[in-house]
């Protein structure tokens, strides 16, 4: 191909094209202009997650986040959604352990409307009683569907067993009985205590003028005053399982089991996070899902999907292998996964595998960052973990520096210790049952 000068932006965001502004009330605004885009993505989070939920009201943070869009001091439910939907715009909230996250998009001409709406639902939600009740029924229906979903139940029980009493072991969307315990007063109080501009991070990406966006954010969110910091929640260091923990969640009538096998993994800020992602890529991601996919799916035809994943968060992480399996083949697949993990912790990966993994991790960045939402996610990642504005431009060099020995050492640190948590969900009648 000829080397042509293309009109595109630098494929990777960096200090020279990200604008970062801190408002006096503690809100952090990150922006990147994409002049080719006729639309805008907004995305962000604030530290009001399920870590603050009382145990008997688990799901409170989650429900509070969803209830924001159900009515404000100015607009009822229909008016909020009329404003958004008539513009072809969207705005939504979700809860996790540490944060409540939000995301929205609109045509560039409608950005002031979207920012005004964001400010209004965050600062002045009305939490109408009838809407809360409707939301509760909708959410309980969602939990009933979850209870029948083999993949979700395997993952949920895996977290419960691996993290035990740690906040990561509790589902942020709660259980049916804890959702029943939540009343409107709880939601009001939760909002009052934990919603604050301090710690709120907002990314705005697309066809924007950053100066103008800063003005709008000041106008719609600048008047929000910070409340007192909540008492910090203790996140104890979880202990890896000393021996295997095996659990089967019986969901009768299903045709397939979902399986999760794993243990603790690195936290996002740990130094061995990078060797872990290079190694995990080889174990269960590269190509048709790495070595795990090669053995289980390609060589033995035992699963439609099989992969390894790192879930590296702030206070802890997990390293897990998951697969969708015929109940009859469950034990065979567990044995194969064990054998691959053993191999991965005993011998270094090959030079070729290492080179492939690095090339993949570096080469995938332009694709991951082509869209406004991809860039917005990257900006939030930079802010949340303090990675520095040039993180994505420095990333290739960081990945290139990883050695086979570091990958092996990291694999051994996490996967060679005590036992594994092994959870399947689906019909009974597996070969081991």
């Amino acid at each position: 191909m000829s080397k042509r000068q293309s009109a595109h932006l630098n494929a990777l965001p960096g200090a020279d094209d990200i604008q970062r502004v801190e408002l006096p009330n503690g809100l952090t605004l990150l922006m990147r202009c994409n002049p080719f885009s006729p639309s805008v993505v907004i995305s962000g989070y604030l530290p009001a997650g399920s870590q603050y939920d009382p145990p008997d009201k688990l799901g409170l943070a989650y429900l509070t986040a969803l209830a924001l869009m159900r009515g404000t001091q100015q607009r009822n439910f229909q008016q909020i959604h009329e404003t958004l939907e008539y513009a072809g715009a969207s705005l939504g909230f979700a809860g996790s352990v540490h944060t409540v996250s939000f995301g929205g998009r609109c045509l560039t001409e409608d950005l002031p409307m979207l920012l005004e709406m964001l400010g209004e639902v965050l600062m002045q939600p009305a939490f109408p009683k009838d809407q809360l009740e409707r939301l509760r029924v909708q959410h309980l229906t969602g939990l009933a569907i979850r209870a029948q979903d083999t993949a979700e139940m395997a993952s949920l029980v895996f977290d419960e067993l691996l993290f035990n009493d740690h906040p990561y072991g509790k589902p942020e969307d709660g259980y049916p009985h804890t959702i029943q315990n939540i009343n409107r007063e709880d939601v009001l109080q939760f909002h009052q205590h934990y919603y604050s501009p301090k710690g709120l991070v907002l990314a705005v990406v697309g066809g924007i003028d950053p100066t103008q966006v800063t003005d709008w954010v000041n106008r719609y969110l600048g008047s929000w005053t910070a409340s007192d910091d909540p008492l910090p929640v203790a996140f104890p260091d979880p202990k890896p399982p000393a021996q295997d923990i095996r659990r089967h969640v019986s969901i009768e009538g299903k045709s397939q089991c979902d399986l999760v096998v794993g243990t603790l993994g690195p936290r996002r800020a740990d130094a061995d996070f990078f060797p872990a992602i290079v190694g995990n890529n080889i174990l269960g991601q590269l190509g048709m899902m790495g070595r795990i996919g090669e053995v289980i799916r390609e060589q033995h035809g035992l699963a439609y999907y099989a992969a390894a994943n790192l879930v590296a968060s702030t206070a802890a992480g997990s390293w897990e292998v998951s697969a969708g399996v015929d109940p009859q083949n469950l034990q065979r697949v567990i044995d194969l996964i064990r054998a691959e993990i053993r191999h991965f912790t005993r011998e270094p990966v090959s030079e070729e595998e290492l080179a492939d993994s690095k090339a993949n991790l570096i080469g995938r960045l332009p694709l991951a960052l082509e869209s406004n939402s991809g860039v917005a996610g990257a900006l939030l990642n930079i802010e949340r973990f303090g990675l520095g504005l040039d993180y994505y431009r420095n990333y290739p060099a960081m990945i290139q520096g990883i050695t086979r020995e570091e990958v092996l050492k990291t694999a051994r640190r996490y996967l060679n210790g005590g036992g594994l948590v092994i959870v399947s969900a689906g019909p009974d009648g597996s070969s081991e049952a």
Binding site: Y86, G88, G92, Q148, E252, R297, D326, A359, S373
Partner: protein, 429 residues
């Protein structure tokens, strides 16, 4: 919008569409074949999808696994989809790796191995995929609704096939299917992204030009009489939630009524995104059915939609019921809303909302090279690219009278299928 596309046909019949987009250093390369479940016979249901799986199992030049690694090294992504009317393969890669996509797709257009051992291993993978689908209440329901909606047309069959046929199909069946449909005269190449179109056309000629033409697939018209009555069906499975699906025959994508029904769907059940990749959707909380069913505490959620197909397929509405409500109550309210559409014209404001929503979703999808390349080929499978480039203009022409007429013609009470999924674990209403 369509003017900046290079369109041509090679002497061997291969159609080529190229669109330069220089906003990111990426390319997306797609090969489309006119084959899918619509082309399958009794006893061979699922064979097109299985062939698609075998296309990832290697050629003499690229043994199984080597391409996965080659794609992975670029950081790009590749995949394939089998539909009723078509099967497609794509690679989205950093722009300087386009030759890899051209080489591998031209190679597997004719050289795939279909090794008997791989056929057997893929048989169990696809049976596992089917088992995963059968875990889903909505798969069970829509499968039953689809079957009840057609008597003879192959659109009644699921693309993945039946357990019986997946057990009985043999290696030579698969290979024959492959040889019959995979050749230049039955294919279309669509590439979008950061390249020089003239230069890429030369490369395409180099890679694909010498492949023997073959014959375009014949798609004999299938006579499918209108549904003679309203059909009711019930399926059950594990779960705690009742779902309803109501399906009406819909116009083919090339029918002018497709656009009227698209606007109707948008205001009845909420807008459906055209974007296969990226973009995200818009909520449907101001739609007529959301107000009538969810706001009135009969349902917890609903969606509606059509697919762009060669022949008339289905317009369906899927409703998740509240645990304390019955399907009869829900159907009565739904029927009131359909009747309202058939009796009185909608407001201009509702149409304007549908247009603005479509325009926004169009803009969201344009950020994504993969999505743009997808449309460059997809639209040709049931109409042509002008269908896509003229889509917004066609929607803008829809009038309240068109919607009234579409509601009367396409949503008759006595020609539809009403399916209900009853959970075995839940309290039945």
């Amino acid at each position: 919008m369509a003017d900046d596309i290079l369109r041509t046909r090679l002497p061997n019949g291969l159609t080529v569409h190229l669109k330069e987009i220089h906003t990111a250093p990426l390319i997306s390369h797609w090969v489309w074949y006119r084959v899918g479940s619509r082309y399958e016979r009794e006893g061979k249901r699922g064979i097109s999808h299985w062939v698609e799986h075998m296309q990832f199992k290697g050629t003499p030049r690229f043994p199984a696994g080597t391409l996965d690694r080659a794609i992975a090294r670029t950081g790009g992504t590749w995949n394939a989809f089998t539909h009723m009317d078509w099967t497609t393969y794509f690679e989205t890669l950093p722009a300087d790796h386009l030759p890899l996509a051209l080489e591998l797709e031209s190679d597997r257009m004719i050289n795939s191995l279909f090794d008997p051992q791989d056929v057997e291993s893929e048989r169990s993978v696809i049976l596992a995929e089917l088992a995963g689908n059968l875990n889903e209440p909505l798969f069970l329901l829509s499968d039953a609704v689809q079957k009840a909606s057609f008597t003879s047309h192959p659109y009644r069959n699921e693309v993945i096939g039946t357990p019986e046929d997946l057990q009985s199909i043999q290696r030579d069946d698969l290979y024959d299917h492959y040889r019959r449909y995979y050749h230049p005269a039955n294919a279309l190449i669509a590439v979008a992204g950061d390249f020089d179109a003239r230069e890429v056309l030369r490369q395409i000629e180099d890679w694909y030009g010498s492949i023997p033409a073959g014959k375009p697939a014949e798609m004999p018209p299938v006579a499918e009489p209108p549904l003679p009555e309203e059909r009711h069906l019930a399926v059950s499975g594990p779960g705690e939630t009742v779902y309803m699906q109501i399906a009406y025959r819909a116009p083919a994508a090339s029918d002018a009524d497709f656009f009227s029904l698209t606007v109707l769907d948008s205001l009845l059940a909420g807008p459906t995104s055209l974007n296969m990749f990226g973009g995200g959707g818009i909520s449907n909380k101001t739609s007529r059915l959301y107000r009538a069913l969810v706001e009135k505490e009969l349902a917890v959620g609903l969606s509606g939609g059509m697919q762009a197909t060669c022949d008339p397929f289905l317009y369906d509405l899927t409703i998740t019921l509240r645990p304390d409500r019955s399907p009869d109550e829900v159907l009565a309210v739904l029927d009131d809303e359909i009747k309202r559409l058939q009796d009185s014209p909608v407001s201009g404001q509702e149409i304007e909302r549908a247009i603005k929503q479509a325009r926004a979703m169009f803009a969201y999808g344009s950020e994504n090279i993969t999505n743009q390349a997808f449309w460059l080929g997809f639209a040709e499978m049931f109409a042509d690219y002008n269908w896509f480039s003229g889509y917004l203009a066609r929607l803008e022409e829809v009038t309240p009278a068109d919607i009234l007429q579409a509601a009367q013609r396409w949503l008759p009470f006595n020609q539809r299928v009403v399916g209900i999924f009853y959970p075995l674990n839940g309290d039945q209403p």
